[in-house]
């Protein structure tokens, strides 16, 4: 299990990196390496060129942009975990990040790398989906934004081109006092979840839900917004009965199946976890009420 031969490049600017991407037709970007390196060691990927983007300055900042946080593509997962800005302004991401791998992998793993790998149950793509993030990608001679809704094209397949790289992710923030919850079910702590549910609730006085965002990971080929649940919540007053009933709609999601988890189980978990996450999020919302939903 040793990496195959390749030519190594360590560009110092995004421009140089994307120029290399344009020039080399079998190249791989090396960000945090927590997914690419195992695949290289197992020779599941055999690139001719590896372009290491760790030495590019200015790609790892977390910036407060008023109504959004903007993360450089090379922001390490650990920096998200320990960011006060994230904890205060985007608590869903803080809650989710603690489920991402292990401390050694969070030290290296990056936001942009996680988005580019796009595992269907990865936490950061789920949170990005829930928060309606916008991903900025760059190639030689062009920069463009991709709305999160358009970002996944299929199973582990983001919609940017082979000569493009993720340079930043803009995460719009929810109003202060919003409810949030990230719940996942994994076989072991730190494993990729079988299923996860990310819930954001904007709750008005009286417990009426003004806006809801529900994202289920690990069920479909990529994180999915469950609009049926969102619509069913909007304008309603949060209650145990409502959440219990509405979460059942998650059973209707088209689900993947593999030797490790059958489709019905993923759908079932999506429903259970979403119900629990709704209860937690509503309890946390400034205008919500404390409720226990097992």
């Amino acid at each position: 299990m040793k990496p195959p031969p390749f030519t190594y490049h360590d560009p110092r600017s995004v421009e140089d990196a994307v120029a290399l991407l344009a020039e080399k037709d079998n190249a791989k970007l090396l960000a945090g390496g927590q997914s690419l390196m195992p695949m290289l060691n197992m020779r599941f990927v055999l690139p001719d060129d590896v372009i290491d983007i760790n030495l590019i300055d200015g790609l790892a900042d977390i910036r407060d942009d008023g109504d959004a946080l903007v993360f450089g593509g090379m922001t390490r997962q650990r920096d998200i975990e320990y960011s006060d800005l994230v904890a205060q302004r985007c608590p869903l991401m803080k809650e989710a990040i603690l489920n991402v791998g292990h401390r050694q992998t969070r030290n290296r793993g990056t936001y942009g790398g996680s988005m580019s790998h796009l595992d269907p149950s990865a936490e950061l793509p789920s949170v990005s989906m829930a928060q309606d993030a916008v991903v900025t990608v760059q190639k030689k001679g062009g920069i463009r934004d991709i709305a999160m809704a358009d970002f996944p094209m299929g199973y582990m397949m983001p919609s940017f081109e082979l000569d493009e790289m993720v340079t930043s992710i803009r995460v719009p923030l929810w109003p202060e006092g919003h409810g949030y919850s990230f719940v996942e079910f994994a076989r072991r702590h730190g494993d990729f979840a079988i299923t996860s549910s990310a819930v954001l609730l904007d709750v008005e006085a009286g417990g009426r839900i003004k806006r809801a965002s529900i994202t289920v990971g690990g069920v479909g080929p990529s994180p999915l917004r469950v609009t049926a649940v969102e619509e069913g919540l909007t304008g309603e007053i949060g209650s145990v009965e409502l959440f219990t009933e509405i979460a059942e709609k998650c059973r209707e999601i088209d689900a993947m199946e593999d030797v490790y988890a059958p489709a019905w189980y993923r759908q079932h978990l999506a429903s259970v976890l979403t119900r629990r996450a709704l209860g937690k999020a509503f309890s946390r919302a400034a205008n919500g009420t404390e409720m226990t939903l097992r």
Binding site: M1, I194, V259
Partner: protein, 774 residues
Amino acid sequence: MGAKMFGARVARLEDPRLLTGRGSYTDDFHLPGMLEAAFVRSPHSHAKINGIDTAAAKAHPGVVAVYTVADLPEYLRDMTVPFQVPNPAISQPFQQRLLEDREVCFAGEPIALVVADSRYNAEDAATLVEIDFDILPGASDCKSALDDNAPMCHANSSNNEGAKYTVGYGDVSDAFANAHLTHREEYWIHRGGGFAIENRAVVAEYNELQDMLTIWSATQSPFLVKQNVVDMLGWESDKVRVIAPDVGGGFGPKTIYYVEEALIPLVAKELGHPVKWVEDRRENFLATNMERDQYWDMEIAVDAGGKLLGVRGKMTHDSGAYMPWGIISPYISATTLPGPYILPAYELETRVALTNKVAVTPVRGAGRPQAVFAMERLMDRAADKLGIDRVEIRRRNLIPTEQMPYALGLIFRDGKPMTYDSGDYPKCQVEALRIADYEGFRARQETARAEDRHIGLGIANYVEGTGLGPFEGATVRIQPSGRICIYTGGGDSGQGHWTTLAQVAADKFGVGIEDIDVQKGDTGKIASGVGTFASRIAVNAGSSVHLAATEVREKALKVAAYMLEAAEEDLDIVDGRVVVKGADLSVGLAEIARAVQGMPGFSLPGGVEPGLEATHYFSPSQSCYCNGTAVVEVEVDPETGWVDILKYSMAHDSGTLINPFVVDGQVQGAVAQGVGNALLEWMIYDDNANPVSASFAEYLLPSAPETPNVDVVHIESPSPINPLGVKGAGEGGTIPAPAAIMSAIEDALSPWNVVISGAPITPSMIVEKVRAGS
């Protein structure tokens, strides 16, 4: 000194080296001119090989040699690994060739060996070896493999049955005819592996000046490696030295002799360079032996009071494609089933199936977790059907301690009639329940249910034959420096032999364990040895150290009596010096050691033999039987299927303890492996026996958050059949774990009448059962 070392809870001598990165594992050796090897292995579970082309691989930069069968010396081309443990019940004892060029029978079977200047280049070249395969269907599931129309594991066989035998005693038909109640059920226990964190590794170096071949191997059994190298390669025994340096975990699979341990020495000698091969994790999944897959179709008969009348049934054992250790594992399974209970009649027919998977040989527990699972499930079923508490039915059937030694009526794998040598099974169960707070459990369960939480308690008992022969010896030598050195044959893969064997010897010389060195796992240091497996070192090597140290002590006293001109009975050994009691007169062990080296031309003092040393090879008359009770309290989330082990209690009787600290660690680690077998570890194969879950991302080992703390209470029933009274302790934690955990899950989910008949169980399986029951 003065503090008694034997039995003391002392920290290990091994640790400072290992904690500071100064251990020396096989991959840590860097010898001048060393080459590295990589294997080309079959990607298919079963295939015919039409041709192998190594031209491109040989031309790759850095490559020194590529070996296929055709490149081996002629006498080795068709040679198979020597069959270790023959048995007349075995009808098709297939053994592996060094390399294969006709038919591969499991994914991972070696076909070619590439030697290069680096592992990187060797792996590059390995991908360039072109092999023309005809893919054949593979026998995957062991039960279906015995069907008439099953694909053949070996193309030339007419069936996949490797062995068949029946064990038992008593009148089983009569027992069932007179039963108040019977229950029949099928059980399945899945395959699982050892998965030491260090993979296998071999380094071999031929020294032409000394005409000596030295092999370092990450093995549990350096003497078995040596014996097989000698047998296969035809080299003289005194020209081969095998060393097991620090070994990063064993758990059974490293007991076995593998083809790599013949090939690497062979090519090192042929190429005139040291050669290293380090198994990578993928190879470990494919080519290191595993265990456990068994189906049991079992029936129990009890009287109205829940007393056992008989157990009968059939078991199917998955042997993989080859049988290097014959029927050791399934035979242990068959003889373990009666356990700690008075079982008047028993009959089990076992069929061993050949499948296109890596061979099955013992993994920690060695056939016992399966048998205990079957028996303990049957006990639970009988209790439930009779409306008796699961604890109570066990209590009524445990062998009372007054009946020890207890002859079971079976013959064990060592060929001796099975006689439990000692043990207090009722006390063990009582103690386990006490530390588990069984009395308070039903109230806890009720409270929890009121909060919509589902907790459950499970129990399982077991008896385990440990300390198997034939022998493991020890030399105890006092060196001219006065330092005491012990040599023994079995390697150490984490058990702490240095510490515990030093504890056995220290009191004989009134010294601390830090004054004693233990050199183990080196065929150059002691004439004979066997290996570290089957929970046998404390019993065998420990007893040998005791005997040898006693002899050395007696000799030291005899020589000192001569030197001090005192009577032997007036002497004692204190702090490494022989003293005359009540007088200010003494002589150090160092001086005595030098005295018995002798002086040219003078006779030795007291007419003794030279050297202050002794060697003993303790050979036990039979196995000694360790036993224990596991009590597990779990909380289950019926909606997600999550199982949280709240409390794991274990009463454990491995006889007299040499070091309770070390035994605690053995039990805790063994439990973790049992937890893996029960809840996490699943080696998935497709219908043609191609491995699916061949990485640590897919085959799940227990990690720290999922592993419970284990409360251990030690019962000490000394074994009467060795001088120390010790029994083996390395496997007991694993054996009852799946049975106890499943029992606890069933109890937690009793509102849904959940019944579990297999291991492991996954969250989705639990949810499925809950849904079926609601």
